[in-house]
């Protein structure tokens, strides 16, 4: 097939080299350093030494199980909420958006144009003790007179859901947009009700989007610490908060490094369980 295929030789490697080298040195190698550090013992004043200190891992799990579990719970809940909230809208844009599709998609990603921290601070304002949300909930007696939203798990999950919502909505839209409308018509011609046609045709065909959106939302959500820091109380802290403070405030590097790996393992297990449930085909289908 022409010129490019006849000159396989060195060209692709020359094109790859700088970028791949960058990723190797500043992404892969650092993971090695992190693994090494996670098995060290000692402290910042007397230095750390590599001692195969697997105890770091057990101590991390023993002492911070609550934060690990909370991270997976909050991330899972926020992912589910994001899916339920954004699926109908993705559907609406894909099937009824017409020529406004691009503009509506722009609205979906609009939150990303506001600095992450600033939009989280905006939620702090919205959920604040004298804010209209709290006042409304108090007058509806959903919240007691002294009830608050800030510094609760509700606030943290609300923040995470909002902040990662576009990661869910966009893949959902892409997979729904690709569905051939004639398939749904065919189902209806064959006497499927609209509901049935949706459940048997549209929903299964949009599964790749559901899978991609779930992963794109869940993974960053599980490692997040900003929402818990700004919207929650110490009782709502996630493992990201612990890793952050161990690294940057307490300089307990081995503990923090081991927690980073446990977090990654936790995410991998969660993703694997999820993949089992929806089928690995969907997962690899969205991979690249």
């Amino acid at each position: 097939m022409g010129f490019f295929h006849r000159h396989r030789g060195l060209t692709p490697y020359l094109l790859l080299a700088p970028g791949v080298a960058w990723l190797a040195v500043f992404f892969v190698v650092p993971l090695g350093f992190l693994a090494y550090q996670s098995l060290e013992s000692g402290n910042i004043d007397f230095g750390y030494a590599f001692t195969w200190a697997w105890g770091n891992y057990w101590h991390a799990i023993r002492d911070y199980r609550a934060q690990f579990v909370r991270s997976l719970e909050y991330a899972g809940l926020a992912t589910l909420l994001a899916l339920l909230i954004s699926y109908p809208v993705a559907y609406w844009i894909a099937f009824r958006g017409g020529r406004w599709k691009n503009l509506l998609l722009l609205f979906i990603v609009a939150p990303f144009f506001v600095t992450y921290l600033i939009r989280t601070l905006a939620w702090e304002t919205i959920l604040s003790d004298n804010g209209f949300v709290v006042n409304a909930l108090q007058s509806l007696h959903v919240l007691g007179p002294g009830g608050r939203l800030l510094a609760t798990s509700t606030a943290v999950v609300t923040g995470i859901t909002y902040n990662f919502l576009p990661f869910m909505a966009l893949p959902l839209y892409v997979s729904l947009e690709q569905i051939d409308g004639r398939l749904i018509e065919a189902a209806e011609d064959l006497y499927a009700s609209k509901l049935h046609a949706f459940l048997r045709v549209t929903l299964p065909l949009s599964l790749p989007g559901v899978v991609a959106g779930t992963l794109l939302t869940f993974i960053p959500a599980a490692g997040d610490f900003i929402n818990a820091q700004l919207l929650g109380s110490p009782d709502n802290h996630m493992i990201g908060n612990v890793i952050q403070s161990k690294f940057l405030e307490l300089t307990d590097y081995p503990a923090a490094a081991s927690m980073s790996f446990i977090l990654m393992a936790g995410i991998l297990v969660a993703v694997a369980v999820y993949a089992r449930a929806v089928g690995t085909e969907q997962l690899t289908g969205t991979a690249v």
Partner: protein
């Protein structure tokens, strides 16, 4: 058909009609509510950039003022933080896009040994939590006694931008008509000339998109920067520090400004696309 099937059929039709009605109108109303929810925090950011807070907390509306916009750099440290963020975002997006475009070209155009591994290498940073990216880079720099500052931030930003650039350019290259290049070669152009005169202009929109995406991701990054900044302060780090003692309204001013610029860039892009598709049809 049996006599029972007919009413059931009718029932089903009624149900279908109701569901159809619901789908047409409730879905629209729901979607509008959704967009209100999505845009509410943005509106808050914009509105509170005009607030005149009496205390140090910019939480409740006190009164309208232009002062925050007039004295946008009236808070110590905010100007240098913005300049640093812009510098980093500019350099990181250019380098990451160059590296990423080269990788995308190699992946789409050539069959070579190690292609699958390269794909995985590109995919992994996208699926690793930011805190792990930041933490691992921190341990690298710590163990090599690298001094934290401008260069460590820049290195980090280029690292997490590369994958985004690759994905963006690759998407465009895949749907690319290779006959155009073959035609150029048949007319005697060499590989480099063909690349410059045919390939590059055709993928230019994707390269621009990658640049903008990398710029946006870089200027917004907090987590990885927080781990690798040393004593340097980018704009998101400034916001983080300010949030602990009550963020001044100037933070909202800059947030609004970034939002407006990004929105304008995206709107411009969409309008160009719309016009192009109109011309094509």
């Amino acid at each position: 058909m049996s006599s029972i099937a007919v009413p059931r059929q009718r029932q089903r039709n009624v149900l279908a009609a109701v569901l159809g009605f619901l789908r047409y109108h409730v879905l629209t109303v729901y979607s509008l509510l959704f967009f209100a929810y999505l845009l509410l925090p943005i509106a808050i950011v914009v509105v509170f950039s005009f607030n005149h807070p009496t205390g140090k907390f910019n939480y409740t509306w006190q009164g309208f003022t232009w002062d925050n916009w007039r004295y946008w750099d009236g808070v110590p440290g905010i100007r240098s933080a913005i300049i640093l963020s812009l510098e980093i975002a500019l350099i990181a997006s250019v380098i990451a896009t160059a590296l990423g475009t080269a990788i995308a070209l190699a992946l789409v155009r050539y069959g070579f040994r190690g292609r699958a591994t390269t794909n995985i290498l590109i995919f992994l940073p996208l699926s690793t939590p930011e805190i792990v990216l930041g933490a691992s880079l921190l341990t690298l720099f710590l163990n090599l006694n690298v001094i934290f500052g401008f260069w460590t931030i820049l290195i980090a930003h280029i690292m997490f931008c590369i994958s985004f650039a690759v994905v963006t350019v690759k998407a465009r290259l895949v749907g690319f008509d290779r006959h155009l290049e073959e035609a150029a070669m048949d007319l005697g152009a060499n590989e480099w000339t063909t690349f410059r005169k045919v390939t590059l202009p055709l993928i230019a929109p994707a390269i621009l998109a990658a640049l903008l995406l990398c710029f946006a991701i870089s200027i917004d990054d907090f987590v990885v920067t927080y781990f690798n900044s040393g004593s340097k302060i980018t704009f998101p780090l400034f916001v983080w520090g300010a949030a602990r003692i009550g963020a001044p309204p100037q933070v909202n001013v800059i947030g609004t400004a970034i939002f407006v610029v990004a929105l304008a860039a995206m709107l411009g892009n969409i309008l160009v696309q719309m016009q192009r598709s109109k011309r094509a049809s």
